[in-house]
C-alpha cells in the first residue's frame, strides 16, 4: 500500500470514499456512520452525544468509508466487511462510456486521481476486477495521444489565445496526466534549447532557480513513473 509514502497525490487518492457493507458488529465506533449519527443527534439532546459515540456499528449496515480504512478492514485474515461497491467512475455504465470514447470524459472533474485510485482499488477484492483493470489501461491508451499532442504543440507561445486553447484542451486531464504533460513539455523545451544552441548560455540565477524547481518536479514525476 505504501509505495510512495510521502506522495501528496497518493494520500489524496486513498482518501476517496467507498461504500461497503459490514459483516460483523464494530463496537464503540458508531460515530463513523455519519447519516444515523447526525439524525439522532438532532433529535436527542447534546448530553447523549457521548453515548452516541460509544454505540456500536451493527452488522449489515452500509457505510461510506475512506479507502485506507476499507483497506485495513478488508485485507486482513478475518474480514469485517463485505466486498466494496465500486465507485461510480469505475461502474459498468461509466466503463461503457470509457469504451466508447475515453477522451471526452472530464476526468479532472469526475475523478481527479483516476489512475491512482483505480490502481489502489485493484488491491481490494471485488468481482469486476479484470474489467476495471482493462478499462484503466484502455483509457490511458486512448487518452495518451491527446496528452502527447498537447505537450508538443501547446508551448512556445505566451499569447492569450494560445493560453485559452491550452486550458480548454488540458482541462480534462487528471493529475497524473497533467504531470505527464508537464514532463513532455519540459522535454520538448529542452530539445528546442539544444537545437537553438542555447544550452551553453549562462543565465542569471533566478531563472536557474526556477529550472531547479522544475527538475525537482520532473524527478518526482520520473520516480512515480518508474514505480508504476
Amino acid at each position: 500500500m505504501y509505495e510512495d509514502y510521502f506522495s501528496i497525490d497518493d494520500i489524496l487518492s486513498t482518501q476517496e470514499r467507498i461504500r461497503c457493507q459490514l459483516l460483523v458488529d464494530i463496537p464503540k465506533l458508531g460515530f463513523l456512520e455519519s447519516s444515523s449519527a447526525t439524525a439522532t443527534l438532532n433529535d436527542e439532546k447534546k448530553d447523549h452525544a457521548d453515548e452516541q459515540n460509544f454505540s456500536s456499528l451493527t452488522a449489515n449496515t452500509k457505510l461510506e468509508l475512506p479507502y485506507w480504512m476499507i483497506y485495513s478492514i478488508c485485507n486482513c485474515k478475518t474480514r469485517f466487511a463485505s466486498l466494496p461497491e465500486l465507485p461510480l467512475i469505475y461502474s459498468r455504465i461509466q466503463r461503457q462510456i470509457f469504451a466508447a470514447d475515453a477522451s471526452v470524459v472530464d476526468l479532472a472533474k469526475q475523478a481527479a486521481h483516476f489512475y491512482r485510485q483505480g490502481r489502489h482499488l485493484l488491491e481490494l477484492n471485488f468481482d469486476e476486477k479484470r474489467q476495471v483493470a482493462m478499462t484503466l489501461l484502455q483509457t490511458y491508451q486512448q487518452r495518451f495521444r491527446s496528452i502527447m499532442d498537447a505537450s508538443f504543440h501547446l508551448i512556445l507561445s505566451s499569447d492569450h489565445h494560445h493560453h485559452e486553447s491550452m486550458k480548454q484542451q488540458t482541462g480534462k486531464f487528471e493529475r497524473q496526466e497533467k504531470i505527464l504533460l508537464m514532463l513532455g513539455q519540459a522535454a520538448f523545451r529542452d530539445y528546442d534549447r539544444l537545437v537553438n544552441n542555447e544550452t551553453k548560455q549562462m543565465l542569471p540565477p533566478k531563472i536557474q532557480g526556477m529550472t531547479t524547481d522544475l527538475t525537482n518536479v520532473l524527478n518526482g514525476g520520473m520516480n512515480r513513473k518508474r514505480k508504476r
Binding site: 489524496l12 464494530i26 465506533l29 485506507w68 532557480g209
Partner: protein, 203 residues
Amino acid sequence: MLASKAHELIKELDRSRDTVLPPYNIETIRLCQLEANELFRQNYEDVQTVVQTNTDNSSATSAPTLMPTISIRHAAIQRIKRCLLAYVYHRMNKIKSLRWSIGPVLPEHMRNNLSIDELEFFSNYNQTLSSYMRSIGNNHSLDLTSFMIPPKKLFAHIKCIQDYGPYETSDGTIIQLTFNSEHYVLTSDAEHLIQRKIAEHIV
C-alpha cells in the same frame, strides 16, 4: 470522521504546492497529535480487555469482539502519522530549495512562516552546504548555487543590458559598461555580471 484533520493538512499542502511556503500549521498538527494519542489510549484499553477475556476464557464468545474496532483505530493512527510525516517532509524539501534559489538569508515574511524546528533545520542545512562549498574549489570557495552548469570556455561574450559605468575586471583592466555595449571578458567576470543582471550572455 477519523483522521479528517490530517486530511485537511494534506489538502493545504496540495493547494500550496506551486506557491511560496505557507505558515506552519501548528494548531492542526497539535489536533492531529491529540487525536492519535487519544486513539492509541483507547486502543490500549481495549487490547487490555481483550487480553483479559482471553485469559479468563469465560465469556470469550458472548461479548462482541473488539478486534475490528482496534484495527480501524490502528489504521487511523497510521494514517495520521503518514499525513503528518508527509507534511513535514514536503516542507523540508521546499526549505531546501529555498536555500538554492533565494540564498542563505531568508526574507522576513518567509522566516515568519517557518516553525522553530524548521528554522533550525534551515540554518543547519545552510552551514553544511557552505562548509562543503568552502572545502571544494582548491583554495577559494566555489559557490555552487550561482552557476550550476560548468563553463565551456575561458572567455565569454557578453552584452550590457543597463548603464553601469566603469567596471574593474579581475585582471585589473577597467571596462566601460554602457547600455548595449558588447565585451569579451573572462568567464568568472561574466558570471558575476550576469548574476547581478548587468549583462547577458551572447552565444
